[in-house]
Amino acid sequence: MSIKFVCSCGKRLRARDEMASRRSVCPRCGALVGIPSREAPARGAPAGPLSPAERVRSRRVVPRTDSFPGELVVADLAPVSQAADALAAVPPAVPLNPDAVEPPAPPRPKRTYFRRGQLETWWFHCLLYPMRAFVLILGLAVGLTLVTGATVLLIPELFELRTQPWWHAAICSAYLVIPLVAGGYACAALDCVLAAGITGQAAYLAWPGRNIGEALAGSGRWLICFLAGPVFLVAVIVAFWMYCGDLLLFDWFIVAELGVVTVGYWLFVLASVGMSGGLTGVHPFQVIDLVHRLGYRSAVVAVLAAAFAGAHAWLGLTALDGVHRGASGWVWLFAAWFSALFWAVFIFRLLGVWCHRARICRP
């Protein structure tokens, strides 16, 4: 048999018998919960903990006893139900003192609002995080727009370096460092968002700031995570797209499902590295452990991330094509980068929070 009880946030919980009278953590809100005991705490009190339905019916009848574990008694915060007939069906408990005063009615439970600085409890709470980081995302989008647009416009010029002396080519190729640094900084910013979620940190926004070393370290982690597995899947996708000719519907399905696997695996490698605190997280077994612990949430994240990545890749490529034609391409490119960064921050925050919950609930 299992012990059923309700957390203060309203989440219905169940624990094994051997966990009675112990403490645990609510998987939804992360708060500590006390698991009630099956034994009757005092003579005259109801035997064992009540089911949620029983608790509703006996809300104004069951007295509080000091032997109940902690203040987190169901009667305090269970959903309010004023069905008088339900109450009438339950025989009243016999008080120890016939002249005892009936204890006051428990206060109405408060609704669980999401407050700033509090770790997100629902998935849509994570949408507030990119809104808080609006200025950061705006700045990154502007920078990446300028860098990527300038890079594609200068690519034909770089091919003229083929006949130049090697030192001349090396100096001109130094320009390529700029887009790498810009991209690396964006990767590091997302890495910070993921790490903040994994550690359960919600009081302030995490970003690399002016710490270029941190930015380079973050981009290095991303690169290593990419090379640890997704690089092979990306090679398969690119080779398939290059040589399949005109894509049929089945071909598009193949590209889509390979994209989901690639993007999802890359995300989980990053999360695994974040949770392990080092590069040992790139081991496929650790990644699989994380995916198994997340359960269905891993599939949700993978599909969401792949869908967003694919849509924004298409938008970005269309915008880059437009950059060659006029100013409207630049506007579209900025919109693509801004939207991509916004949803990337949301997904990384969501993944980080879910990893945080999964780590706390780890047996």
């Binding site: 034909p156 083929r162 005109d246 696997v261």
Partner: protein
């Protein structure tokens, strides 16, 4: 730590990759030409046959003509041997007349050099043009330093463009015909990625595009990549160059007799297949670097320069399974100076089958394969360049950057590059 669920995740990864592997197995491979010696011999007979009006080999049709450019295939395709290229005297004159009034359609076609009846002249293209029957290249292209006629083009109306086509060599046609379409499409995508998604319609980078025909196929034969297969190319040439109507392409109607109806087809499908089989039997050109020595070293240096200068961006050495073709078979914009509209577009059913507005632009040309280039002068689409160096200098549009880089080479480096091109010989 035991992970009993590990097997399921590995299985899931295998299932994720399985559709891609299954699809790869279904990709169309090389289109194999069945080598039939009898068909090839019969095709060679037809290729060298000198056609005449009411020819015995075409009992159902009118034989040669009534309008034609040559009396046999080998009359043009003979340099340096049967199946090769042709000289300036065998150039085909094409025209494009753009509409001047709303509702008018673009007219394009060929001004045939000869006729059994209904001789064609430029005046039949447009009343403002002189009645010249066989215009020379110098009469159509300004600035050519030759004495075979002063240029007439400046006096042409603005909506009329007349250009010429030089006879291409047919060597290696089987390899091109067998190439899967996905290889050509893959090359197009590679060039788009390589040059940062530069548009193919621009002239800033050598980004080519596939010529999509109206039936959805990819063009690969002809100066404008207007034919999707060797069979289509052969049938179109028979009809338009020799006036031999066949099941794939009807013979053109004379400009002065648009209502002319031939009594029947001049060639049967079997005869067309025999001609195609012979063309497919022609060997591919070879790269002859020569014996080790100074000449070979020059050629090898020139080969490196060929890639460094940017020639290999379009004249890519290998295309899929074809080694040494030096072409990407894509359309590239070559600049206003190398414009040339017109095609085998006269009614009946046109080849190329191009929807209006979607065909190659006047300055778009398929990258000609450079294999055998040393034995196929003159060069460019109309043969205006007598030497390889002159041909490189005349490259414009998307190729201008490479032409400028060639111009900046030293004399010795230029000689090395030309020496390399001279190693690309006909079989």
């Amino acid at each position: 730590m035991k992970r009993p669920y590990l097997v399921w995740y590995v299985l899931a990864l295998v299932l994720a990759l399985a559709p891609a592997g299954f699809r790869v197995l279904l990709w169309p491979g090389l289109k194999q030409h069945a080598a039939d010696a009898a068909m090839v011999r019969a095709g060679e007979t037809l290729f060298t046959h000198v056609w005449k009006e009411k020819d015995a080999l075409s009992p159902s049709g009118d034989g040669l003509g009534p309008v034609y450019n040559a009396t046999s295939c080998v009359a043009c395709h003979r340099q340096p041997a049967i199946g090769g290229s042709g000289g300036l005297q065998h150039n085909v004159t094409t025209f494009v007349v753009k509409p001047q009034k709303p509702g008018d359609k673009t007219r394009e076609g060929v001004v045939h050099a000869f006729a059994t009846r209904f001789q064609e002249t430029l005046a039949q293209v447009d009343a403002m043009l002189p009645p010249v029957a066989r215009p020379t290249l110098a009469q159509l292209v300004a600035g050519l330093p030759r004495a075979d006629g002063h240029c007439l083009a400046p006096s042409f109306p603005r909506n009329v463009h007349v250009s010429q086509r030089n006879t291409p060599a047919l060597y290696g046609a089987r390899l091109i015909d067998e190439l899967p379409e996905r290889v050509i499409i893959g090359r197009e995508r590679l060039e788009q990625i390589k040059f940062g998604l530069q548009p193919a319609q621009g002239e800033n980078a050598p980004v080519g595009r596939v010529n999509r025909l109206a039936n959805g196929k990819v063009g690969r034969f002809g100066w404008k990549a207007q034919s999707a297969s060797l069979s289509d190319f052969v049938q179109a040439a028979c009809a338009n160059e020799l006036g031999l109507g066949n099941p794939g392409q009807a013979q053109p109607r004379p400009l002065s007799a648009p209502n002319y109806q031939p009594p029947g087809l001049d060639l049967t499908q079997e005869q067309c297949d025999q001609l195609t089989a012979f063309c497919a039997s022609l060997p591919a050109p070879v790269e002859r670097l020569g014996s080790p020595g100074f000449g070979r070293k020059m050629a090898e240096e020139g080969k490196s320069l060929f890639a460094a200068v940017g020639c290999a961006d379009c004249h890519t050495p290998d295309l899929g399974p074809i080694q040494g073709i030096y072409s990407d078979l894509l359309l590239h914009r070559m600049g206003q100076t190398l414009e040339g509209g017109g095609s085998y577009g006269a009614p009946p059913p046109p080849v190329p089958d191009v929807s209006p507005g979607e065909g190659p632009l006047p300055d778009e040309w398929r990258t000609p394969p450079l294999w055998g280039v040393a034995d196929s002068p003159p060069y460019l689409h109309d043969g205006r360049a007598q030497t390889l160096e002159e041909a490189i200098r005349l490259h414009a549009g998307q190729a201008k950057r490479a032409a400028d880089m060639f111009g900046k080479l030293t004399t010795g480096e230029k000689n090395e590059l030309i020496a390399f091109l001279q190693t690309l010989r006909a079989p």
